[in-house]
Amino acid sequence: MISKKYFVKGFTSVKGLDSPALALGCSFIAIGAMLKNLGFNIQESIFSTFLTYALPGSLVMADSLLVGASLLNIFLAVWLVNARLYPMTISLFPLMMEKNQPKWKYFLSCHFIAVSAWLIMKKNYSLIERKHRIDYWIGLGCATWSIAIASTVIGFLAADYLNRDVTIGLAIVNPVYFTCMMADAMKTIQISLAVIFGVVFGILFYFISPEWSVLFGGFTAGTIAFLIGEANVS
């Protein structure tokens, strides 16, 4: 069973000053409006955020649908842009693994791995006792997931009233939030270098292969940062 106390603690953690609610809400309002303009109905829009819950993946799906891409192309394009979720999961879940906790909690709650919840959990995990971390994470994930779904509905319903300038304004909020959270996370040499190199190599690799730039740039940057950090420690 899920501990109610830690679930609620996680759920309410999105109320703080580092809350992702505003940024997440704005982004998914923009997504909801975009899906409506693409021809999705409200059920499809809700279904999309409910099942995918990853902003770049939804954008790529929308882009692929616009150009009439095949299902295989959509799968590969989304997998490429969302492959970052693999290292994100590995860098978070070992911190929450506990023998006494049932496995289904981990396999279900990995659906909540997305930048906002991940950054908050990475910041807060040390404040929570290890055996309760997964319940806190489920609470936090449910909160960010609910915000995303509710905002998609709001965006869908408000699509006709959102002009171009408002939609553009909504779309910049999330990158700003992510940038500030990443800047805040730069507390060790390794992480700081990983972020700085990630920016540099992300741009450089874009000119070689836009599709692979996030993966190749991230892999190169992270590996160099790791090696420098390890050499520095030893």
């Binding site: 969302n82 970052r84 070992p94 990995c110 939609t167 991230g218």
Partner: protein, 107 residues
């Protein structure tokens, strides 16, 4: 629900869940004190940084309609505000849309 949209959503969610699922499977054998954990930690942050800079400099969707100087200026001003407000995230995120509207009118 039309079949093509329904299948596109299904394929998108499968492609997304795959990375998360494989991540959980791999996590079982990784200790948080190990070197491989630290390596994946670096990979996670660097991949995120690469993704964020891609969204800012080479965006897809409606952000691509805005001049990149405007986008970068908003990020820079928001970061300054973030540090000036003692790392309060509400101000920069709430005001970023207004900054963009103002800067967009200047450039």
């Amino acid at each position: 629900m039309s079949a093509s949209i329904f299948l596109a959503i299904l394929v998108t969610s499968l492609a997304t869940y795959l990375s998360r699922f494989l991540g959980v499977l791999s996590s079982k054998n990784i200790k948080e004190t190990s070197k491989i954990f630290r390596w994946f930690n670096c990979l996670a942050y660097s991949t995120l940084a690469a993704l964020i800079i891609r969204i800012i400099i080479f965006p897809i969707g409606i952000l691509s309609e805005v001049n990149y100087i405007s986008r970068l200026s908003v990020i820079f001003i928001s970061l300054l505000l973030f540090y000036y407000s003692k790392k309060n995230l509400v101000y920069p995120t709430a005001l970023s849309a207004i900054f963009l509207a103002i800067i967009n009118n200047i450039f």
